[in-house]
């Protein structure tokens, strides 16, 4: 388990952060620019020193002000993927990858070069220099380098912020594989909702140096006060589903969860596999009864739980669908016309088609924007 | 009164400065003097230095100027002489016997003999002549520590890095760390002469007066105070 509790004054800025995360999976530190995300992971890496508190990863204590423990950076064995990659320009990709590996005793090497090269698709790059690599390739090498240092913990500081959409789409699947196939806790700093939703298990919302919300991604993202907390305009819910069957003729897959069934473009997961969907509030339509003669495939019966204003003319409607929640952003005029209030039975309509094909990638936890 | 600019070999510095002071007191004429290597001074005169008087430590450089008509030939005199001496660090017990077949090479052992570079520093040229006349040059030449000026040779000896050195008697006085342990007999090397002359371009009457003062018994007495000897009569 990762257990972080630190306090630090940085000039006029006070950092006071505490959170815990599981041994496995991705913990996303999410917050606006300047909220203190980098400061937190720098403290975890040991690149900066908290005034007080403790930082533990599993059995290892990295820092404990009470016990006067402060392990040197180079002894912590945390993999750090920096925003600007920081590959060593004078070494080949191979030497970069092996830099951390060589500094770990042979007996402790669990992660070998071959599989990482395989995992991250670096085979063709090994003899090249960082200078010639594209942004996406660069970050993949940085990821591999950090991994091969046999880290107890992987830190990533906005590893995709400098990449354009295409490069980002190229690297996301690799991080997912990492999360799913390696038993290393990952702390991911991000201010991009889509990244967090797609990758994170746990979400820690940071504002002004403090944790304002933390928990499973679905729970945090489903909160109607999220935009107030985080500035996320892009409200939406996160559903975890399983593949029920593939409808090969139409190129679709049927996914099931406790609230019903969704049809989406074919997911590259076996039947029974887990898939995560990020359902944007702006993509959910509320109807009083299932309509017919319409291109929308998915109609989920549910009950209105809450209605909250989300803008001058719009409202967010939280709808319980089975044990999960959806959020629909609709005009207030529609709320009035449909007489939506807590308790009202409604049908949530969700378009199944609206996502880019390149968002499809394998992984036990799948995210598809709907 | 017009100032006089004297270019003088570095080894005459102390005497010339004292004489300049006396001259100023007597006549009110200020003497400005520049001390450097004779070669540098000669070349400066050649290249138009506005000097009035040149005191060289070396006949060659005075000849060099004379050949180029850069001095007033009739003003040229051999002002001073000097003695060539062997020095050792203060407290040294070495006492070389300076004569043909003498013990100088033996005393040197595997140490070095510090002196000016015989190829261009006057004192080195005299040392070479003297050692040649003793028939010891071939033995000693590989053991020379050649310096670009007398002061460096003095330092080598006074620091004990070289057990012996050859310098002018006047130089030996500069460094309290050395002692004169032998004097080359006058016949063993060409006479040491410090020639002096007015430059060809000077029109400064005071320069003539200062030259006369240097040549006067009063002037020569001051030079002798600093270890110079009267100039030998040249053939």
């Amino acid at each position: 388990m990762l257990d972080v509790s630190i306090r630090r004054k940085l000039g006029g800025f006070a950092l006071d952060i505490a959170f815990q995360a599981e041994e496995r999976g991705v913990t996303a530190l999410f917050g606006r620019s300047g909220s203190g995300k980098t400061s937190v992971i720098n403290a975890i890496a040991g690149l900066s020193r908290p005034d007080e508190g403790h930082i533990r990863v599993g059995d290892a204590v990295f820092f404990d002000s009470a016990r006067r423990i402060d392990v040197a950076v180079e002894k912590r064995r945390v993999g750090y993927v920096f925003q600007e990659s920081r590959l060593f320009p004078h070494m080949t990709v191979r030497s970069n990858l092996e830099y951390g590996l060589r500094r770990v005793a042979a007996a402790e090497r669990r992660i070998a070069l071959g599989p990482v090269v395989e995992l991250l698709g670096l085979g063709g790059l090994l003899d090249r220099r960082p200078r010639g690599l594209s942004g996406g390739e660069t970050q993949r090498v940085a990821l591999g380098r950090a991994l091969l240092a046999q880290p107890r913990l992987l830190l990533m500081d906005e590893p995709m912020a400098a990449l354009d959409a295409a490069r980002k789409a190229e690297i996301l699947p690799y991080i997912e594989r990492l999360r799913d196939e390696m038993n290393i806790p990952i702390v991911l700093v991000s201010h991009a909702v889509d990244e967090v939703v797609r990758l994170a298990t746990t979400m820690v919302l940071i504002a002004d140096g403090r944790v304002v919300a933390a928990g499973p991604v679905g729970a945090v993202m489903g909160r109607l006060d999220l935009s107030a907390l985080s500035g996320i305009q892009d409200a939406g819910a996160v559903l975890d589903l399983t593949v029920e069957r593939h409808i090969d003729a139409d190129g679709l897959s049927a996914l099931a969860f406790d609230g019903g069934r969704l049809t989406v473009p074919r997911v590259a997961r076996p039947v029974g596999g887990a898939v995560r969907l990020h359902i944007h509030a702006r993509d959910v339509i509320v109807a009083l009864s299932p309509p017919s003669g319409i291109s929308v495939r998915n109609a989920l019966p549910g009950r209105v739980v809450a209605v909250a204003e989300s803008g001058p003319s719009s409202a967010d409607v939280q709808i319980a669908v089975g044990g999960s929640f959806l959020i629909a952003r609709i005009t207030r005029a529609a709320v009035r016309d449909l007489d939506l209030a807590p308790g009202r039975e409604v049908v949530a309509l969700v378009k199944g088609v609206a996502f880019e094909p390149d968002l499809i990638a394998p992984g036990p936890r799948r995210v598809v924007d709907v | 009164a017009q100032d006089v600019l004297v270019l003088a070999a570095a080894s005459t510095k102390n005497a010339v400065e004292k004489l300049a002071g006396q001259f100023k007191a007597k006549t009110g004429v200020a003497i400005t003097s520049s001390f450097a290597a004779s070669s540098a001074l000669a070349k400066q005169i050649e290249n138009g230095a506005p000097a009035d008087l040149f005191i060289s430590a070396d006949l060659d450089w005075m000849d060099y100027l004379q050949k180029r008509n850069l001095i007033k030939v009739d003003s040229r005199v051999s002002l001073l002489g000097n003695e060539l001496v062997v020095i050792a660090p203060k407290g040294s017990t070495l006492k070389p016997d300076l004569k043909p077949g003498g013990d100088l090479p033996a005393l040197l052992g595997d140490g070095r003999l510090a002196t000016g570079d015989p190829s261009n520093v006057p004192v080195g040229k005299y040392a070479q002549a003297a050692l040649e006349s003793f028939g010891q040059w071939a033995q000693i030449e590989p053991k020379l520590a050649r310096t670009d000026n007398v002061r460096a040779a003095l330092a080598l000896v006074s620091r004990g890095e070289a057990p012996l050195g050859i310098v002018y008697r006047t130089d030996a006085a500069v460094d309290p760390g050395v002692a004169v342990v032998g004097v080359f007999p006058p016949g063993s090397h060409p006479a040491i002469v410090f020639p002096v002359a007015l430059t060809a371009t000077t029109t400064n009457a005071n320069a003539v007066k200062f030259l006369d003062f240097l040549k006067s018994p009063e002037g020569l007495a001051v030079f002798q105070e600093f270890g110079f000897v009267p100039a030998p009569k040249l053939p």
């Binding site: - | 510095k13 400005t32 003097s33 520049s34 450097a36 070349k43 290249n47 138009g48 000097a51 500069v174």
Partner: protein, 231 residues
């Protein structure tokens, strides 16, 4: 206690003046050389680069001789200067400045060149699109941005100029009050029976001046860098 005799004080002040003028006077040429070498490629660039380094490579006495031969009143340039402008360099403080300017020139060019090379060429392109021609860009963009490097180069060159001996004594001789700078005074002191202590004292003073200059340059360079928005 008087640290310095009047004559030594004269030598110190003269050194400061000689070195100061040398740096100020050679700065424009050094900047020009650094700019051209740092920004442009042209045939013979290596030769120019070599010539700039020449005074570093040659013994100072040789530099002094070359100056004497060319810039003396009988020399080609020196004679012309004398006849045309009545400027005489030999035996003058101005000549001493020239001598130390020449020997410290390579140091200055190297330092400034590095700071020229560090300036983002994109800024010049931006200035071009804003209508600035080459000279305009040089004064409004390059010069201010190279200022910290220029300062530190100038100060190191100044410190080196304060210590120059061979070129000075060979070119302008050793005239107290006119061309006897601190190093020449140190040399003169070593020619006297009791001069070692004086020489040591003068050497310490020389070092202190250089140290102060270096400290001042670090400090000023930091401030300058902040002033031009890069600290």
């Amino acid at each position: 206690m008087d640290l310095l005799s009047p004559m030594e004080m004269t030598a110190l002040l003269l050194s400061l003046r000689v070195a100061g003028w040398a740096i100020v006077g050679s700065l424009p040429l050094a900047v020009l050389a650094a700019w051209v070498l740092g920004r442009y490629s042209f045939p013979g660039k290596t030769l120019v680069d070599g010539l700039v380094h020449l005074p570093l490579v040659l013994p100072p006495v040789v530099v002094g001789y070359i100056l004497l031969i060319t810039m003396g009143t009988k020399g080609v340039i020196g004679g012309w200067l004398l006849q045309t402008f009545g400027i005489k360099l030999i035996f003058t403080p101005e000549g001493a400045s020239l001598a130390v300017a020449v020997t410290s020139f390579p140091l200055m060019v190297r330092a400034i060149r590095l700071s020229v090379e560090a300036i983002d060429g994109g800024l010049e392109a931006a200035a071009r699109t804003l209508g600035a021609g080459p000279v305009d860009r040089f004064f409004t963009i390059l010069l201010p941005l190279m200022a910290p490097g220029l300062l530190s180069g100038a100060i190191v060159a100044f410190a080196a100029a304060m210590g120059e001996f061979g070129a000075v004594i060979t070119f302008v001789s050793n005239i107290p009050g006119r061309t006897q700078t601190l190093p020449l005074a140190i040399y003169a002191a070593t020619q006297q029976p009791d001069g070692d202590a004086v020489a040591a004292r003068l050497a310490v003073i020389s070092f202190s001046v250089a140290l102060v200059a270096l400290m001042a340059s670090e400090f000023l360079a930091r401030r300058l860098r902040r002033l031009i928005g890069q600290g």
